[in-house]
């Protein structure tokens, strides 16, 4: 006999800790714990046996892996959070005592944590990071449109809008956008970057109000992480594409509302001097390294700060500070990452990663003009990512490359009803006839279809064809594009009418009931029903007179019987299944039936709508 095992010393009792004990172990507040969990990506686990994990108690609790918590205990951010707690105490004491200078110096030295190591830890490779930026992009684009308030400083919003613009710029340049979908929630975009599909949702441009039941702290913590993550991802994407990151911003244009156009992409300039330097430091983004050697230089940089870019890290020890000084004034955006990025540009991997030139430049031959009621950021992004040129009216913002009277315009994206204009000069008329006026959906549908669609159904003032999701639905779902054609509905109708005319009244209801039964079978048993339906359809399409149809029905009735028989058999065979298999089977069947029901309801709705339409059009 081995040694006696004590309870709670091994197994689930040891592998899991409850949340409260985790907080106790980490000696931080619950809020800090949450923040840490968000930043580190630690989430609760579901133990197989809750009772065993909770040492015999079955009270509802959340469990974490004990190892995860041990991992958190060594986190530098946790240390910083503790420091921040001490700092907050000191600051409040200083303020309470009215020691302003102390408070000021404390405030200047407030502890700040960095998330770089967490990014590296959570995403060991770049692909991991890229795969996970969906949520980040959603959040960034949401916060870019939020109004500022005491909880959400304007600087945060500015940073978010900058990041989202940078992402759009990259997508446009690399032509990696694949799909777009105008939904009621916003616009879904899907891009393919380095073989990873990235889907993100951008809300329509309306002011969003934060509901009261939303914890802003949580969102801001996520945003903190996402900003850092996106920064590093974009840096990598930009430098791999040979671009300077961050892209320089033209403040004048930006203030004019140029949006994405305010940023300019710059190729990385490689100068010999820089490449000769054996520097491993790839950091300097601004190209304006302020040496920390003496105070004078800092002062100087502060005085010249108006022309430069903010965000200079003074503490950063940089050996090449002096060398940079020369070009500091006129090229503020040279990257110092020369050697490394240059070499990395040549590698096969990065070449693969580079966007393919063969991406469909769908709109390349066209020039668009946006009418002022359409949303410029959306369509500028869409058209430019597919190679089109686009202009807009000056009331929509600065930076339009051409005016509305430009002759090269081929399409006008317009979203208002047609108004007859009487005071039209012949020149305007000519221009109008030369251009094609389409509704915005045309652009998105073209992108999703992968080719240029006919403009006719999308013309101004027309009722638009339905806009379908390019992402598809589950297999076997109802497909509105194929659907049950109008032809079939018509046939069915005529069928019924024929019966009423030719046959006596007794038969036709029977017929219909048969058909109804068939339909019911089709709805209930997905696999057999569909086959049966298909057979029926084929028979109908083949050209049917009532007698043949009768036979058909007879046949199908027989078929029904056989299917019933087989159903019985399989029902009996179900007896021989084990309990577990039976449950699994029931579950799967339930799912299938639900899907079939969904499909059939959609089909019946469609039929009804078609019928109504026909009725309306007939008289």
């Amino acid at each position: 006999m081995g040694r006696l095992r004590q309870k709670g010393k091994a197994g689930a009792a040891k592998a899991y800790v409850t949340r409260s004990s985790a907080v106790k172990r980490l000696q931080c507040s619950l809020a800090d714990f949450r923040r840490l969990c968000i930043l580190k990506g630690i989430f609760p686990r579901e133990p197989r046996s809750k009772k065993r994990a909770n040492k015999g108690s079955s009270a509802p609790t959340t469990f974490y892996y004990a190892k995860d918590i041990a991992f958190l205990a060594h986190e530098p951010v946790l240390k910083k959070l503790r420091e921040h707690k001490a700092f907050a105490k000191k600051l409040s004491r200083a303020l309470g005592r009215g020691e302003w200078s102390d408070a000021k110096s404390l405030e200047e030295n407030r502890p700040v944590y960095r998330l770089d190591h967490i990014i590296k830890e959570r995403y060991p490779s770049f692909i991991d990071a890229l795969r996970d930026i969906d949520d980040a992009l959603c959040m960034i684009s949401l916060f870019a449109t939020l109004p500022s308030n005491p909880r959400i400083p304007p600087s945060l919003i500015e940073n978010c809008s900058r990041l989202s613009a940078e992402w759009q710029l990259y997508t446009m340049r690399s032509k990696s956008l694949r799909k777009a979908f105008l939904s009621i929630k916003g616009i879904y975009y899907q891009a393919e970057v380095m073989d990873q599909t990235v889907t993100w949702l951008v809300p329509y441009q309306f002011t969003q109000n934060i509901p009261t039941d939303v914890d802003v702290r949580v969102m801001l913590t996520f945003l903190e992480l996402y900003q850092t993550l996106l920064g590093f991802v974009f840096f990598k994407l930009y430098t791999d594409a040979g671009l300077v990151y961050p892209p320089p911003l033209d403040m004048k244009k930006y203030d004019g509302g140029a949006g994405v156009g305010a940023f300019s992409l710059q190729e990385i300039v490689q100068n010999g001097g820089a490449s000769a330097r054996p520097s491993l430091k790839v950091v300097d983004v601004d190209g304006r390294k302020v040496s920390t050697k003496d105070v004078r230089q800092t002062i100087k940089s502060m005085t010249t700060g108006g022309s430069g870019i903010e965000g200079v890290d003074v503490n950063m020890p940089s050996p090449e500070g002096e060398a940079q000084e020369a070009d500091e004034d006129f090229i503020p955006h040279v990257s110092a990452s020369d050697t490394l990025s240059a070499s990395s540009l040549q590698t096969l991997k990065s070449l693969e990663a580079l966007p393919q030139s063969s991406t469909p430049s769908l709109f390349a031959p066209y020039t668009f003009f946006l009418s002022r009621e359409t949303s410029r950021p959306i369509f500028e992004f869409l058209v430019r990512s597919f190679g089109g040129r686009i202009g807009w009216e000056s009331s929509c913002g600065d930076g339009s490359p051409f005016s509305s009277s430009d002759d090269s315009i081929t399409h006008v994206i317009i979203d208002r009803p047609v108004v007859e204009r009487t005071d039209e000069t012949p020149e305007e008329r000519q221009r109008r006839l030369r251009r094609k006026y389409v509704q915005p959906q045309w652009v998105v549908d073209c992108i999703n279809a992968g080719n240029i669609l006919l403009e006719e159904p999308y013309a101004q003032g027309k009722t638009l064809p339905p806009h379908l999701s390019p992402f598809g639905e589950y297999e076997g779902a109802y497909n509105p594009a194929v659907g049950i054609g109008a032809q079939e509905v018509a046939e069915e109708e005529s069928e019924v009418e024929d019966h009423i005319e030719v046959d006596d009244a007794e038969e036709s209801p029977e017929e219909r009931s048969d058909k109804r039964a068939l339909e019911a079978v089709a709805a209930a048993a997905a696999e057999d029903g569909s086959a049966l339906r298909a057979a029926e359809l084929a028979a109908e399409v083949a050209g049917v007179d009532p007698g043949a149809f009768d036979k058909e029905v007879e046949k199908s009735r027989k078929k029904m019987k056989t299917t019933n028989d087989t159903d019985d058999e399989s029902d009996m065979n179900k007896m021989m299944m084990s309990n577990r298999q039976k449950k699994l089977y029931e579950k799967m069947k339930y799912g299938e039936q639900k899907k079939a029901l969904e499909r059939s309801t959609l089909e019946t709705k469609k039929k009804r709508i078609e019928k109504e339409k026909r009725k309306q059009s007939k008289p």
Partner: protein, 742 residues
């Protein structure tokens, strides 16, 4: 004279009265008791009313007494205060009378009482309670006592409006304060006002106090210096040499500044993050954490312009709206807009983002393997029933026991006859093929079991009723068989009785009185043994075992027909015996108690095996003709198949009936078995057993036979196969015995 002045004068009047009251307090005592009266007197005596100018807003608006009083009260403090000043003017009124002596008119002043009329008494406040908390008088009508010990009545106080009016009218009201002692407002004296002013100006409140008095030097100053020092120690160096350590510290900082390690007036920590190629270095060896599951991609119904069939109907919309957020399948309702410009902002956007984040950091994640299989593939592939014919599929005939349940039935070994017994004690003999009743016996109580003797050379059956087992010879036998049977059951010479007298009595009907209607042989079971619910023949047809329901111990008996001897095989048995069975080939005996099956070797008197089916209450049992397999049915709907070679645990447990299983039977020749249940159905199974030990028995469900009505929760009660045909007979609670043919 201004209105205020006038008013004041008007007010003064009652004070005068008060004063006079004070003087002649005895005389006007009555008046003082009631304020109202005093007031009315005051107004009556007040001739100032006449003097009022025509326009007097104040008096116009509130002329009535109560109001007057209120004013009165409000003014009282002032009046009291002023009274001291006005005392000078108030003299007791002189009366002019004709002198008795001189005959000249003369003025006569009222007598001055030295005690009461002295100045001091009128000057002081009438209330003499002293410095006591005035809230003692809160609930009383008076506020204290005057010098006589009379009550000083509480002056009436006006409401807020009066107070306000007073502040408007009376210029001195803002310099008056409430006097607790008299419960009235009292104007402050100039000294008091001065104190207030000083306090307000942060000055010393005492006007006399001079903070800047010249210092009076007592111990210092000219001529008062101490000559001797307190300590003789020389002055330390640190008093006049700068600190070395301080200098070093300062130098350290200076050096740091020079080297640029410390930057004075350092700009704020960089707000903007510095980015660098974080992924340029090789990643650590450990695997990346699992990526979070991505949210679902939008479907057609989320489009701003979906096909019309996606739009919800009114009922669907209402359903959706009435549901809780958590229960909704979709978090939005499909909507259709004719143009993109009409699409509004989505109001739940932030909430949905937030929910996603909650999912990311609060939801436990489980990795599930998604089964991508056809559910049909889960159903075991079994041979089709049509390839396993013959088996009974339809009901060919029904034999009815009226008003009773057909509890038991048995088929003759040649398969031509059926006997069935019901709860009324009727036993019927009828033909299998046509269902014609040939003979009917009536017994005294309900029939527990009937069983045909398996011997083919003789033909008789046994019927178990209350505490008795009857042996009955059917009619229409061939003479040879009849003779043999008769000889067997009623031999000329009885075998010798056993040495030990048994509790069971065997009695043969005397040949004279016996007819075919009566049982030829009767076995009387011991008292209180109850109804034999099961009778089982050994395959040779010599032994028959009976299980009675009544007493717990003497339930099981094994009777030997040839020796006319009965024995109880068990002295003691744990649990109540439900069923017994003979092994078809070996001298083994199966005993089913409520939860276990025990197998005994009868020749060696040994317990061989205990089977644990895991059924709560065993209802039926049958053994395969090969003797290696046993099926057991329970009231908890389960059927267990035991392979005796394999294990004590069931090889297969099936649960397909919706109610309790009542009866099971293996076909003696065909690979079939049937089960009858209280749900009124009978299930036929194909049960093939292989001779090699490697192959598992094959069980294929073949057919569900429905034909028995459920009555009082009972359905089909017993099933029996015909020996040579794949035909099935079933007795049900509805009194019908059905014949199922292939």
């Amino acid at each position: 004279m201004t209105a205020t002045e006038e008013h004041r004068r008007k007010r003064k009047q009652p004070v005068k009265d008060d004063a006079t009251d004070g003087v002649f307090h005895k005389a006007v005592d009555m008046v003082m008791h009631s304020d109202e009266e005093g007031g009315s007197i005051a107004s009556d005596t007040d001739d100032a009313v006449d003097e009022f100018p025509g326009i007097d807003v104040h008096s116009d608006t509130d002329e009535d007494d109560s109001d007057f009083e209120d004013d009165d009260e409000a003014d009282e403090a002032e009046e009291v205060l002023q009274s001291s000043d006005e005392d000078n003017h108030i003299f007791p009124k002189a009366k002019t009378i004709i002198s008795d002596i001189t005959g000249q008119p003369k003025r006569v002043y009222p007598e001055i009482e030295p005690e009461y009329d002295s100045d001091s008494s009128t000057e002081d406040a009438p209330n003499r309670v002293g410095n006591v908390p005035m809230h003692w008088y809160d609930d009383l009508p008076h506020v204290g006592y005057d010098i006589d010990g009379k009550k000083v009545l509480r002056p009436a106080r006006g409401d807020e409006l009066d107070k306000f009016l007073l502040t408007v009218e009376d210029l001195s009201s803002w310099t008056s304060a409430f006097d607790k002692n008299t419960q009235m407002d009292k104007p402050l004296t100039t000294e008091e006002l001065d104190i207030i002013r000083r306090l307000h100006a942060n000055e010393v409140p005492d006007a006399e106090y001079d903070p800047y008095e010249p210092m009076t030097e007592w111990f210092t100053g000219k001529g008062k210096e101490e000559i001797m020092p307190l300590s003789a120690a020389p002055e330390p160096k640190r008093r006049w040499i700068p600190s070395k350590w301080e200098k070093q510290k300062v130098m350290k900082i200076v050096r740091a500044i020079r080297q640029g390690r410390i930057v004075p007036s350092k700009p704020k920590a960089t707000a903007q993050q510095q980015f660098y190629p974080i992924w340029s270095e090789a990643s650590t060896s450990h695997a990346p954490p699992l990526p979070a599951p991505k949210p679902k991609l939008p479907t057609n119904s989320e489009s701003y312009n979906p096909p019309e069939e996606y739009l919800p109907t009114e009922a669907e919309r209402k359903d959706w709206e009435s549901m809780d957020f958590e229960d909704r399948e979709r978090d939005y309702l499909p909507q259709k807009y004719s143009a993109l410009r009409l699409v509004p902002g989505y109001d739940r956007f932030i909430k949905e983002r937030f929910n996603r984040q909650l999912d990311l950091y609060l939801a436990p994640r489980v990795q599930r393997v998604k089964l991508n299989i056809d559910p049909q593939s889960l159903i075991p592939k079994l041979p089709s029933p049509s390839s396993l014919r013959p088996f009974p599929i339809y009901k060919s005939l029904t034999f009815l026991h009226n008003d009773s349940l057909a509890r038991c039935l048995s088929v003759s070994p040649d398969g031509a006859w059926v006997i069935s017994g019901d709860d009324n004690g009727v036993v019927c003999l009828w033909e299998v093929t046509v269902g014609r009743e040939v003979k009917r016996w009536k017994f005294s109580s309900k029939v527990g079991a009937v069983e045909w003797c398996p011997r083919t050379d003789v033909s008789y059956f046994v019927v178990g009723i209350e505490e008795t087992i009857h042996f009955v010879i059917p009619p229409n036998l061939s003479p040879s068989v009849y003779n043999l049977t008769y000889k067997l059951l009623a031999p000329a010479t009885l075998p010798s009785p056993p040495d030990v007298p048994s509790a069971v009595k065997w009695t043969t009907a005397p040949s004279s009185s016996w007819s075919i209607n009566l049982p030829i042989l009767t076995v009387q079971l011991p008292q209180t043994s109850g109804l034999p619910k099961q009778l089982v023949w050994h395959r040779r047809g010599d032994y028959i075992a009976s299980v009675s329901s009544g007493s717990n111990l003497g339930g099981v008996w094994i009777h030997q027909v040839t020796r006319r001897h009965s024995q109880a095989p068990f002295k003691k048995i744990r649990g109540s015996v439900q069923l017994v069975l003979f092994h078809p080939l070996k001298p083994h005996f199966f005993v089913a108690t409520q939860q276990y099956i025990r197998i005994y070797n009868l020749s060696e008197q040994l317990l061989l095996k205990t089977l644990v089916p895991g059924i709560k209450w065993i209802s039926s049992m049958d053994v395969h003709p090969s003797g290696d397999h046993v099926i057991i049915g329970g009231y908890d709907r389960k059927l267990c198949w035991f392979d005796l070679e394999l294990s004590d645990k069931p090889y297969k447990v099936l649960r397909y009936h919706t109610r309790a299983i009542r009866s099971l039977h293996f076909h003696p020749a065909y690979p079939l078995f049937a089960s009858a249940s209280d749900d009124g159905t009978i299930q036929i199974f194909h049960a093939r057993v292989y001779n090699d030990l490697m192959t598992d028995p094959l069980i294929v469900p073949l057919k569900i036979l429905r034909g028995h009505q459920v009555k009082d929760g009972l359905g089909a009660l017993q099933v029996k196969w015909c020996n040579h045909h794949p035909w099935l007979l079933s007795g049900g609670a509805d009194g019908a015995i059905n014949m199922w043919c292939s």
